[in-house]
Amino acid sequence: MPENTQTKSIKKVCVIGAGTMGAGIAAQVANAGIPVLLLDILPKDGDNRNAVAEGAVAKMLKTEPAPFMSKRAAKLVETGNIEDHLGKVAECDWVVEAIIERLDIKQSLYEKLEAVRTPGTAVSSNTSTIPLAQLTDGRSDAFKRDFLITHFFNPPRYMRLIEIVAGPQSDAGTVGMVRDFVDRQLGKSVVDAEDSPGFIANRVGTFWIQQAVNSAFDLGVTVEEADEIGGRPMGVPKTGLFGLIDLIGIDLMPHLMKSLTSTLPADDWYQKIARSEKLIEDMIATGYTGRKGKGGFYTMEKGADGSRTKMAKDLKSGEYRPAARPGIVHGSAARGDLGKLIETKGKVGAYAWAVLGPTLSYAASIVPEATKTVVGVDDAMKLGYNWKMGPFEMIDVIGAAKLVEKLKASEYPVPPLLEQVGDKSFYRIENGKRQYFGTDGEYHDVVRPEGVLLLEDIKLASEPLLKNGSAALWDVGDGVVALEFTGKMNALDEQVMKLIQQAIPLVKSDYKALVVYNEGSNFSAGANLGLALFALNIAAWSEVEKSVAGGQAAYKALKYAPFPVVAAPFGLALGGGCEVCLNSDAIQAHAETYIGLVETGVGIIPGWGGCSELIDRWQKNPRHPKGPMPAVSKAFEIISTATVAKSAAEAKEHGFLRHTDQVTMNRDRLLYDAKQRALAMVDGYTPPEKPEFRLPGPAGAAALKLAVESFRSRGIATPHDEVVAEQLAYVLTGGNTDPMETVTEDRMLKLEQEAFMKLARHPHTVARIEHMLETGKPLRN
């Protein structure tokens, strides 16, 4: 691995090739706030010589999920063509090539690049198949020094994996510069790969897909059965295998196969299993290429009555038939007990073993050829294929010795690394540190890059300071504690509030600052709705009221605590999850934060201070008009429509984040950054002043009501939307206040609580909550 010795930094980037990958990479560079030049070839016809790149940007602005985090980011992309604008490469510190996977075309581009680039400018290829040695063949030593492979995954904004391959001549400083940039600025997790075919993730992934498809045909397993066995129980996203192929495109399969069979040595196991099925060839030939085509292994069929039925391809007859829910995996085998799964009698166990046995064996065979450590393989599969566990973590679940025994019994190859580990495991915890089994037969610490701090690691080495069923408090070093939500889906409840109240005196006496942070799949999607519904069903109004008051009290206690509080949201931060951020001194948000006050969707309004906090933010926004009404109107618009920001950048536009709040691009760096932010605030910290509001009162509420009525008459708002909006307007306009009076924050909280309770008791609100819990979708009643 090259040492990090760079002194240069990347201030402008050029991406050549505006296909899905190139354009997506350019967008992510722009998302980081870095100007980027996006070049492609001249269009076949037309006068606009930049049409290809411009078209790619225009298309991205309409794509969902969006490649750009904000409209502003799109403006940082400068478009051009390689005939007219290649010279501009001289201004760039890094050039990413993401053009067609043809060696000759790439080589000729590099030749042109060599002539225009500034020496020291990094050049990397996004190739997924071509060896580095071939790419730089014929180039100067200087070019070779600055050249590397940066293999992004699709879509570049959302997939966290990047595989970096440095050549023998690559300059450590240049590689370090790029590496640092993709890590910190683009937020990617770097896995170092060797210059071997398919690198890591696609090598294992392609083998896995091939083996799983083969086995389904060979064992007579249906696509639904295959996906049930090979999906969740193996920690693979619930699409399972065939669902995944539909997603990435069935027509991609032959390409993947061709590129690997043409580059892998003849004795590689993959060569033996690579085969194509007539049925799949026919599907591709007739346009059944998956979700992007006419259909895939699954398709939705519309009935005459508008009903939609999920259909599945019968692998024997080739016909579609209604998709079944096999329900054949039971017990612990369905919940990640892989040992149980492969030992299950009948086709469940047979198929599971046919997929897992060879795939795990194969994965173990590519270390150190494709990457030096087992950690690299595991990280690549987790980050690049969204597996819950990497192959070596799976082997540990089964037991390496047991796996070897079973492989031998099935006459599958047993790679040396598996023999070497024997009855030990690939990972172990030693002195509070996670260690991996190296090819030298020794255990080594899993080392995090500098600036990466993970609760996962802290948990191995320490006990929580406080803990209950829904939250915990951890010492994260340097006098900072982290408040972690631990309930199901990180839902917020009484226990969370209780722990906050306990944490405050503790931090006050023994620590300096607190960050609100966790490592769930989302920061928090808000209050525990199930609990709320239960309380509403048993008419426990006073309990509901208490939980509103309790949440308000806890959040305000955080806000006015005598130490800095920094919230570090990521993923979903909704409802109460948003409100805890709004009540913090500062927010250090991950770029992929989807924050919003979505309470109206379930027929209530924010009850833990969200209403007044959002008004406060808009009133203090220097770029927003002054006076009692504008901030209220804005907050009303955002809350009544349950607006959710689609990125941290967008969250700033909606006022959930202040302009002083900061964004971390790399998820793994979020806690560290939040901690540093909190520490920076410690000296001379004073809690915020209690805000007072000048609000429009009934006249303002009447104005908002008119707006809602117009939405209602146009069929945009439903009858219950109107009921909810009326309560929201009452709160936001300050109840029966007068623009000449001031309304205290406590009064605002009281108003919130009253309105909340009125709505919570409304049968249509109960129906909305119930519907949301049962279907995951809002009820439009």
């Binding site: 199930g530 239960f534 509403l536 069903n537 008419a539 426990a540 109004w541 309990e543 049962e774």
Partner: protein
């Protein structure tokens, strides 16, 4: 002495006044059954029950059923009474006119059921089982099966049975062994032994239609491999004439504690011909369609027994002269005052009365829901009715039969030695009532159904149909000058119920044994709050009626006193169940099995 006059006034109060505001709306399809019609039906039912069924009750108990050469004989008079019952159209009272029934609402039919249970529980079981079998058949049978069999069952000419239990499996039906072999003609041959089959054989009707749970040859193990089959005693021909005797025989009748006039048979199916009812392996579902209505019906049995025990006790307490009143002589011409002057006798009488009136009011509410489930014009009300029935079915079954048991025991106590000897007929009530706590799912199972299934279902959705009206009523009447005080008591109990509910929901999530340990106490608490709600509503109505002036003032005055007694004496101990619920499972489960 067994004394009975149907409590028609109270029934009509429940039917016409008490539940008018239950939110189920105007039910459709019962236009023929207006208030006058309902009153007339209740009067006629009373006559039949009082004059025909009651006189057979004690003799039937004494004589019992017998089995002679594989044929079961019911006690003397039963066949004639059954004939009269069918001719009066009572067999199909609540059955849809589509099948030749009367189409009366459940709310009315349940009153008639109560009367027959009071006057002759053994007798009532024969048509009762037929009713249950019809529910399953109607829900799961094929069109041909329904068209052919239901009319014959609705008019009582043929009766039905439900054959579930086997010697080694009762509650745990997953262990069921009876086999069904498919035949080429689409029929099945059923082979196996069943026990505890009520009305398994008898001499009341021409034919008996058995619904039998059995396993197909390739059926999965456990409850998911059970199918339901229709097996006639005689193979009927298309013109309803009877053909061959099917090898489905009663081999013995059980010798029981009570209910002696009801034939409880051991059945042997020896390759008996039958047909599948509903889909393969879905027999349990079909059985539960019946089970749910049957459970409410069994609850009514508890109430019926409680009512006749009360009436007979009242008769005795007024008739029997013993001791003198503590507040001065009340019967100076006699050698002693009647029992009814004594507070402790009053305690028993009032308890019995309050239990009966409370259960009847609650049963009327649940019956309204049974009607509304299908007949309410509003989809939301139909859904609410379904939720309410789901919640209340185990409560009605277990609470009513537990209270029926307590009441019949109290009747014995009140009768003293005369209650313990057989000739007075009082101990028969206690023996007859006892089974209702056991069959159709023992009461412990009902409590588990309540806390394990009905309570957590859809985040407490079933609870809403009950908790919300109670909560609203309390809010609306807490400051009422007339009933505010009892509403205050109700509020306290309701609060205990809410806390208990939350406690069980929370504890039960992490430890199902905690929920199970609280189940029986919780069911009782919920049932008493439900009765309390009915009493509070009744009190409100009574005050209003008395204020506006009515003919039968005493009925409403009595209602007020009974309600007051309930809130003074019966609700508080039930509220205290909360303490037991909150105490958790430890003292129940800590004892090592070996130490017992």
């Amino acid at each position: 002495m067994q004394v009975y006059e149907a409590p028609i006034r109270d029934m009509r109060f429940n039917l016409e006044e008490l539940h008018e505001d239950d939110g189920f709306g105007n039910l459709e399809g019962f236009e023929d059954f207006d208030a006058d019609m309902r009153a007339a039906i209740l009067e006629e039912a009373n006559k039949l029950c009082r004059d025909v069924l009651l006189p057979l009750n004690w003799p039937g108990d004494q004589q019992g059923c017998r089995i002679e050469n594989g044929v079961v004989r019911t006690p003397d008079g039963f066949p004639e009474a059954y004939k009269q019952f069918c001719e009066g159209g009572w067999a199909g009272l609540a059955v849809s006119p589509k099948w030749g029934g009367q189409g009366a609402p459940h709310s009315l039919a349940k009153c008639v059921e109560e009367m027959s249970c009071s006057t002759n529980l053994s007798f009532g079981l024969y048509p009762g089982l037929t009713g249950g079998a019809m529910v399953s058949l109607e829900a799961y049978g094929s069109e041909d099966q329904k068209n052919f069999y239901l009319p014959k069952m609705a008019n009582g000419e043929w009766t039905g049975t439900m054959c579930l239990t086997e010697p080694h499996c009762g509650t745990d039906l997953g262990m069921l062994r009876t086999k069904a072999e498919p035949q080429e003609d689409g029929s099945y041959l059923i082979t196996g032994n069943k026990i505890f089959i009520s009305a398994g054989d008898h001499d009341l009707a021409d034919n008996i239609i058995h619904l039998v749970l059995a396993r197909l040859p390739d059926a999965p193990a456990g409850v998911k491999g059970i199918s339901m089959f229709l097996v006639p005693k005689y193979m009927p021909k298309e013109d309803y004439s009877l053909g061959d005797r099917n090898p489905a025989y009663a081999t013995a009748i059980e010798h029981k504690m009570g209910l002696k006039a009801s034939a409880t048979c051991q059945m042997s199916f020896d390759g008996a011909k039958g047909w599948l009812v509903g889909p393969e392996n879905r027999g349990l579902e079909a059985m539960f369609a019946m089970m749910n209505t049957e459970r409410v019906a069994v609850g009514i049995q508890g109430l019926g027994m409680g009512e006749i025990a009360y009436q007979s006790s009242v008769y005795y307490a007024k008739d029997r002269l013993q001791g003198r009143s503590l507040s001065g002589v009340k019967n100076p011409d006699g050698p002693a005052d009647p029992l009814i002057v004594h507070p402790d006798v009053r305690r028993m009488l009032m308890t019995m009365r309050a239990y009966n009136e409370g259960c009847r009011a609650l049963s009327a509410w649940v019956s309204r829901a049974l009607d509304a489930e299908h007949a309410s014009p509003e989809p939301e009300a139909r859904e609410r009715a379904r939720d309410f029935i789901a919640l209340m079915t185990p409560v009605v079954k277990a609470l009513f039969t537990d209270l029926g048991h307590e009441t019949t025991q109290m009747a014995i106590q009140l009768h003293g030695g005369h209650g313990y000897i057989q000739e007075t007929g009082i101990e028969q009530f206690a023996r007859d009532a006892r089974i209702a706590q056991i069959y159709e799912g023992a009461n412990g199972i009902q409590a588990l159904d309540l806390v394990g299934r009905k309570l957590p279902d859809r985040m407490g959705r079933n609870l809403r149909a009950f908790f919300h009206p109670v909560s609203q009523f309390i809010e609306d009447h807490a400051a009422d000058p007339q009933i505010g005080k009892i509403v205050g008591a109700l509020q306290q109990s309701f609060g205990a119920l809410q806390l208990s509910t939350a406690h069980i929901a929370q504890k039960g999530l992490s430890d199902p044994e905690e929920a199970a340990a609280a189940a029986t106490d919780y069911l009782r608490l919920l049932g008493f709050v439900a009765m309390g709600y009915c009493f509070a509503k009744a009190a409100k109505l009574a005050h209003a009626k008395l204020a506006e002036g009515v003919e039968d003032e005493q009925f409403y005055k009595s209602k007020l006193i009974t309600a007051q007694f309930f809130f003074d004496r019966l609700l508080p101990p039930a509220t205290a169940q909360f303490m037991a619920i909150r105490s958790g499972k430890a003292s129940m489960m800590d004892m090592p099995a070996d130490a017992f």
